[in-house]
């Protein structure tokens, strides 16, 4: 299965679990649309469970990845129709290092949005229906960095796998 075709917008999975120098890696390239993101998340979660990451932490990882990948679909590729997304995850001791790349539009202002918590002390009609994404990403990740190189967005962060809880 390692020789899967790299055809146009094909899915190229390179999933290595096991004692490969102590490092475990998950790699995937998939189309930047909502349904492909859903399928990619499903595969990634299966791989993380095989890496024996606890359920509570795969939950955190899934929340973060869903937000990051949906942002690429909804913002970076909003006007292009579609493009591909590359996801690379490496386990390094007690953390998971993530790299997400796409060829869409840059982040507004060249940086990742701040993502503040909403004021929920409002009437029901004024409750927010969106804008939770970056807040969740910032709450649940560490070492967030964003780089634009050429036409490519490159987002990196890590999620600790220690017993530290976020809630």
């Amino acid at each position: 299965m390692l020789d899967r075709s790299f055809g146009f917008m094909g899915t190229a999975r390179d999933h290595i679990v096991g004692p490969s120098g102590g490092e475990k890696r998950y790699h995937d390239v998939f189309p930047g649309d909502a349904h492909s993101v859903r399928a990619a998340l499903k595969s990634a979660m299966r791989a993380f469970r095989e890496m024996e990451i606890a359920d509570e932490q795969t939950g955190v990882v899934e929340i973060v990845l869903a937000e990051v990948l949906n942002n690429v679909v909804e913002h970076a590729y909003a006007e292009h129709g579609r493009g591909v997304i590359e996801l690379d995850v490496r386990r390094e001791g007690h953390r998971l290092n993530f790299m997400i790349r796409d060829d869409g539009r840059p982040m507004p202002g060249g940086n990742t949005p701040v993502g503040r918590p909403h004021d929920l002390d409002v009437t029901a009609d004024d409750l927010p229906e969106g804008g939770f994404g970056w807040y969740l990403i910032r709450e649940l990740t560490q070492g967030l960095t964003y780089r634009r190189s050429g036409n490519r967005n490159d987002l990196r962060f890590h999620i600790p796998l220690s017993a530290r809880r976020h809630d």
């Binding site: 909502a34 349904h35 993101v37 859903r38 359920d55 509570e56 939950g59 955190v60 899934e62 929340i63 869903a66 937000e67 949906n70 679909v73 909804e74 918590p117 909403h118 929920l120 029901a124 009609d125 409750l127 927010p128 229906e129 969106g130 804008g131 939770f132 994404g133 807040y135 969740l136 709450e139 649940l140 976020h166 809630d167």
Partner: protein
């Protein structure tokens, strides 16, 4: 997006018969909820016990579903699984909704009519 209604005289339970409410189905969910909360009992409980994952688009759709309920109607939630509960807690949306651990207190009145 499969949503199943269970009605009693005072209560409508809308069961989400899917494992995810995410960006791929958020709009569909919101539209189906509009149809299902247009008539019937004034009190509506959304049963999320089969939903294992909800992202911010899904959360937005649940909030939208509550906001689009007709006047006097209420939307409550039940059966949040761990990752779904975490999203509600982190965004503090758990303070906005009435959340029941499960449907046990309501089951007698509902029977199993589908």
């Amino acid at each position: 997006m499969e949503l199943v209604c269970h009605d009693s005289t005072e209560l409508r339970v809308i069961e989400v018969a899917e494992s995810r409410i995410d960006a791929a189905v958020a709009i569909q969910f919101k539209d189906r909820m509009r149809t299902l909360s247009d008539d019937g009992p004034m009190r509506v409980i959304l049963d999320l016990s089969r939903v294992t994952f909800l992202d911010s688009s899904g959360l937005g759709a649940v909030v939208a579903a509550m906001k689009q309920m007709g006047s006097g109607r209420r939307l409550e939630l039940a059966g949040l699984t761990p990752t779904v509960a975490k999203v509600f807690r982190l965004t503090r949306m758990d303070t906005v909704f009435t959340i029941h651990p499960d449907l046990a207190p309501f089951e007698a009145g509902l029977g199993h009519a589908r």
